[in-house]
């Protein structure tokens, strides 16, 4: 089932949680809402679920207006960050809950409920815990039970609010890929909220980057990572180096290095910032032409296949270190140690006019 969100706005007191947000979730996709805390991603999810009501705007399920539909009627499965399992019930009863509370005429018979619950517990690989209570389970197990419980009512849409947020790093990684596989098997339209960019980029079909109640960019993980639409997205998704720049009629000067900037043809003497990813910086022992900046190696981290360097420019007053990532091979070629003089050149960059504050 597809979800459409049109012009949603929501205000909490003076804080605008959502500002005119529109979004389409395609049927069967796994979509991530990514953003820092306070960006409105959880509010958006809760409005879709019907747990919060927006001040204005619409939510459509499969083209039908669901804005005024009650939570109970939306047929949405919801997974909470802190699991929200019912402590007074066994795992079995937790999963069975959604079936047991149905009105008599549509409630499946007991035997059917039992089969269905065990089927779901097998799906989340925790069949052996059926008679335990939630407090006897680990965090990762609880979250899988919460998922099984949400799936028990055969929801048309699955919404997950920071589903792995309360778990430790290792369990998180396992559950992440497990969720991806589960989604590939079931193809249920799913939206999950996260503040972890790695999680979003790794699991989701498409990523929605949110900031201050607005959507900054929507795209596949590749698109948003490779072509960030705004400085915010650039800075939020991975490390990035900032260089002072100047734009003038399709030309740019990145810290004095002159380059082509055809997309800024109309710019007239504009201050700008160049965003360069650490792996998009070339490092050399000697200056290749005059289009290179001199810098000094201040730190080398050579664990793993990628070597990370920190460089400080010789001439600039900007003492923020420049982050560079090069391959191990390249590192061996250059044989860099701390204190060495190098020349760097941005290979790929994006220019954004400096925002006036």
């Amino acid at each position: 089932m597809s979800i459409e969100v049109c012009n949603l706005s929501k205000q909490f007191g003076t804080f605008a949680a959502l500002r005119d947000v529109s979004l389409e979730v395609r049927s069967g996709e796994l979509l991530a809402l990514l953003g820092p805390s306070g960006s409105g991603k959880t509010t958006l999810l809760r409005v879709i679920a019907g747990l919060d009501v927006a001040d204005s705007g619409q939510v459509l399920f499969q083209g039908e207006d669901a804005t005024d539909q009650h939570v109970r009627e939306r047929q949405v499965g919801f997974v909470f960050q802190h699991y929200a399992l019912f402590r007074n019930m066994t795992i079995f009863e937790n999963v069975a809950f959604g079936l047991r509370v149905r009105p008599k005429d549509v409630r499946p018979p007991d035997a059917e409920i039992r089969d269905r619950v065990h089927e779901l517990l097998k799906l989340v690989q925790l069949d052996w815990l059926a008679e335990r209570y939630p407090h006897q389970l680990s965090g990762g197990q609880r979250q899988r039970i919460a998922l099984a419980r949400a799936l028990a009512v055969e929801p048309k849409v699955l919404l997950l609010d920071e589903p792995f947020g309360a778990l430790d790093a290792k369990v998180r990684k396992e559950l992440r890929s497990w969720l991806r596989r589960l989604h590939d098997d079931m193809h249920i339209t799913s939206v999950f909220v996260t503040h972890d960019q790695e999680e979003a980029l790794e699991v989701a079909d498409r990523v929605v980057v949110m900031n201050e109640g607005r959507i900054e960019q929507i795209g596949t993980p590749d698109e948003v990572y490779e072509n960030p639409a705004s400085p915010f997205v650039y800075e939020f998704l991975g490390n990035v180096n900032l260089f002072h720049s100047r734009l003038h009629r399709g030309r740019a000067w990145i810290d004095g290095i002159e380059v082509d900037a055809p997309e800024h043809a109309e710019a007239e003497e504009l201050a700008a910032v160049a965003y360069v990813r650490p792996h998009d910086i070339e490092v050399d022992r000697t200056a290749q032409g005059d289009a290179a900046l001199a810098a000094r190696v201040t730190h080398v981290l050579s664990v793993g296949p990628i070597v990370r360097l920190e460089l400080v420019r010789d001439d600039s007053e900007d003492k923020n270190p420049i982050q560079v990532e090069i391959s191990k091979e390249r590192f061996r070629e250059l044989q860099l140690v701390r204190g060495d003089q190098v020349f760097i050149k941005p290979r790929r960059f994006d220019l954004f006019p400096r925002r006036i504050h």
């Binding site: 909470f80 809950f97 959604g98």
Partner: protein
């Protein structure tokens, strides 16, 4: 002794336990056992006769019956008050919250006199009840009203914090799974607060059994009808029948202890079932 001592990073187990036992002995156990010792002045026949006269039996029925009924009513309405105080925001909420504790603080005699004035045949409320054939003051109903009054804070104050601790996510989760408000209350909220409710009930019940001051004003104290056991004890004391008074006290003690034990067992059972321990 060392067999019971568990390794713990908290120091002072011996000292703390020793102090606790000494304290409980001085404050609770010794005075109570004095009652038992005093009773031994009576022979078994005398004791049995003293504690089973029809007048005394009637007072047991009234004391325990009215206390139980009052605690039951408090459990229901105390829960409601706690619910309203936790769940809703309204002007004057802080005031009402403070008001709940008033029966704790008010001298019980004041409460008794106030209630009597209200419920007497010519009182503010009594004058409307009388034509309906309902007499409250100077009847067992009056006893019940007074005991309800003094027991209310116990239920509210034990249920309130537990109710506050229930995460709204639990109710949201239940709603998302299709449960209606009643189902959510009965299956999620009520089982969670049940142990606290039982505690509040037990406290209100225990308090009501021992209540004296507020009851004697409104009860009318008619033998066989509206006379509570604590009053009989006082009466006996005034007649210098100390052994007879303590005999009654011992019976009340034993019955109260058994009842509280049963309630505690029920609670333990309920908690184990809900696995909140």
């Amino acid at each position: 002794m060392s067999r019971f001592k568990q390794h713990s990073i908290l120091p002072g187990f011996n000292l703390a336990l020793g102090f606790t036992l000494l304290y409980l002995s001085l404050i609770v156990l010794i005075p109570l056992s004095a009652a038992f010792i005093r009773t031994t002045e009576l022979s078994w026949q005398e004791f049995w006769f003293a504690v089973t006269t029809p007048r005394v039996m009637a007072s047991y029925r009234l004391t325990f019956g009215a206390s139980f009924a009052a605690a039951l009513v408090n459990a229901v309405f105390g829960l409601l008050v706690a619910w309203v105080l936790v769940r809703y925001r309204f002007p004057g909420k802080k005031l009402i919250d403070a008001l709940v504790d008033l029966p704790f603080a008010l001298p019980t005699a004041v409460a008794g006199i106030a209630l009597t004035a209200l419920y007497a045949g010519n009182g503010w409320i009594g004058q409307y009840l009388e034509p309906l054939g309902i007499k409250v003051a100077f009847t067992p109903i009056g006893v019940f009203v007074a005991l309800t009054f003094i027991g209310l804070p116990f239920v509210v104050r034990t249920v309130q914090p537990v109710l506050e601790d229930i995460e709204s996510e639990l109710e949201e989760a239940a709603a998302m799974l299709g449960a209606n408000r009643l189902q959510t209350f009965l299956r999620i909220i009520f089982p969670t607060i049940f142990p606290a409710l039982m505690t509040g009930f037990a406290l209100a019940f225990a308090r009501a059994i021992g209540e004296y001051g507020s009851v004697i004003f409104i009860a009318g104290n008619m033998p066989m009808v509206s006379e509570i056991t604590p009053l009989l004890i006082i009466t006996k004391l005034e007649q210098y029948d100390y052994a007879g008074a303590t005999a009654l006290a011992v019976v009340m003690l034993v019955i109260s202890f058994i009842l509280l034990l049963v309630i505690n067992l029920l609670q333990w059972w309920g908690r184990r079932r809900s696995a909140l321990a």
